[in-house]
């Protein structure tokens, strides 16, 4: 049974999602209405999946994700967002979130996404794929002094990500590129992992620079 925690500042929504998850046979180990509660309760209950709204009272969803990543927890973060704040979603993913879903997604889509994230897969909407493609493009166009060691996408990864952004399912992508479903999944995950790794390296570099300046 997958252990899930739901974070949202809107009680109606929080309870609704928690009920859906429970009815589907998942275990909701905790809920939280703001960032501080979220971090504390994740540390206390160690859920497998954290269903996280980005727009919550401080620290916001992006900061919560970054904090959990820094602590090296196994909890996977699935971002659930209503207003589709593009930059926030991208920041959350770079900070370590495993996926993103819009709130209007159907109950089945939500349950599938929670299960997939619990299995260690990435959940990509076409919108998120577009953001990630744009981010790699930005990194490749930035002057090397600004973004040293910026990660690059392989041709295959770019191809796969573009197809995700164009709304193809992993199965359809596998068919079109004559790959296995697993390989497609790996390519997608790699694109995220490289971005997250780069983000962590950047944070460390920033911390060191700050440390030297002080």
């Amino acid at each position: 049974m997958v252990r899930v925690m739901v974070v949202d500042d809107h009680p109606l929504w929080r309870e609704g999602v928690a009920r859906d998850l429970t009815e589907a046979g998942l275990e909701v180990v905790a809920t939280a209405a703001n960032g501080t509660e979220a971090i504390n309760r994740v540390l206390a209950t160690r859920p497998e999946v954290l269903l996280l709204d980005l727009n919550i009272p401080a620290p916001d969803g992006v900061e919560v994700t970054a904090t959990l990543t820094q602590r090296g927890l196994d909890t996977k973060v699935l971002v659930l967002s209503a207003s589709g704040e593009q930059q926030d979603v991208l920041d959350a993913v770079k900070a370590g979130a495993s996926g993103y879903l819009v709130k209007s997604a159907s109950r089945e889509a939500l349950l599938d996404a929670v299960q997939a994230v619990a299995r260690g897969e990435s959940v990509f909407t076409p919108g998120l794929a577009g953001l990630v493609l744009g981010e790699y493009r930005r990194l490749s166009e930035a002057p090397p002094t600004d973004e040293p060691d910026a990660p690059r996408l392989t041709d295959r990864e770019t191809e796969v990500l573009r197809l995700v952004a164009k709304g193809l399912t992993y199965k359809q992508i596998a068919e079109r590129l004559v790959l296995s479903h697993r390989t497609v999944q790996n390519h997608v995950q790699n694109t995220l992992r490289k971005l997250q790794l780069h983000n962590r390296v950047e944070l460390v570099r920033y911390a060191i620079e700050r440390g030297l300046d002080d």
Binding site: D9, A82, S83, Q86, Q87, S106, G134, R162, G167
Partner: protein, 386 residues
Amino acid sequence: MDRATRAAQQVDDQFYRVLTVLRAVTLVYAVGINAARWRDFEHPGAAWVLIGVMVVWSGVVTWLYEPRHRATWVFIVDMAITLALLRSTEYTHTDEMLAAHTFTLTTYWVTTVVLCWAVRWGVTGGLLATAIVQSVDVTMRPSVNSSTVGNIFLMVLAAMLVGYCAHALRVAAVRRVEAERLAATAAERERLARAVHDGVLQVLALVQRRGAEIGGDAAELGRLAGEQELALRSLIQSRARGEVALDGELTDLGQALDQLAGPKVSVATPSRPLMLPSDVAGEIVDAVRACLSNSIIHGGVDTSAWILLETGDGRLVVSVRDDGPGIPPGRLEQAESEGRLGVATSIKGRLRDLGGTAELIDTAGQGCEWELCVPLEQMPPVPQKR
């Protein structure tokens, strides 16, 4: 008067205040120099009268340069009187004094009107005023020597510098006002977006989900709520991105495409804005719209579509894919050869007009996919907002 114009005028006001000080200082200098040498003049009496005129005019023109009187005629009259006083040197001075390149009657006082022109009409105005003043000065001397050339050079420098600074500061002032306005608007929108997010969007999303689960009439309600949720979300999203181009001629293509999102249409764009001339962005959006209607014509109203915007390698690419039956290879060419100008032809035509291409991608039975490419060389640079 709007705030930007007022800010630019405040810059001007400061310049004219400084020039008032310069006028007073150069006036004192001129009176002093002339008082020390009045016995040398050929017509000392006339010289004193002219100095009196200079003093009076300095007072009058200072009043005329006040913001409420400042008009083009003031600059012209100031120039005319200054030139007349300058030229009267020919009458007050002896030939020896003129030949020896002693100070004119007005000395450095003439500089003020030149700089006033520079503030008013920029570098061009300053240089024009310099040319007028210096030609009047030089033509009354029997010869040109190094000090005349030096004076001309200094005046050209001063006119260019003041003209340029005035222009640059005016532009900066207008930009600052614009930036302050944008910041205030963005802050207000963010507050609104948050308020709306917390309430309305959440409830709409919930109604949509519950409606679909209950079924029947509730499903219809849910569908309506879903449509409104999407419309509102894309509105807030574009607002939160703060896309108000400084130059009214530019549009963020990403934001424009976001507006096409709907229950059956998903839009993927980079988080950075892609600013394009508004007419170009409009053409691209129209072409994408044509692709979408093509999808519905061939696949029916239940066809889903996905739009992807990418940039790179000096071009932008918009992909529009649907999950409809697709268009068999050769079908478009056949239609064209039969003289039927369908949607496809209009899509290709629009892109050709932009110097780009529209291609139908072979998707091996996975719907219909258009790829619209437009080169970016001719486009203005992308403003960096993040």
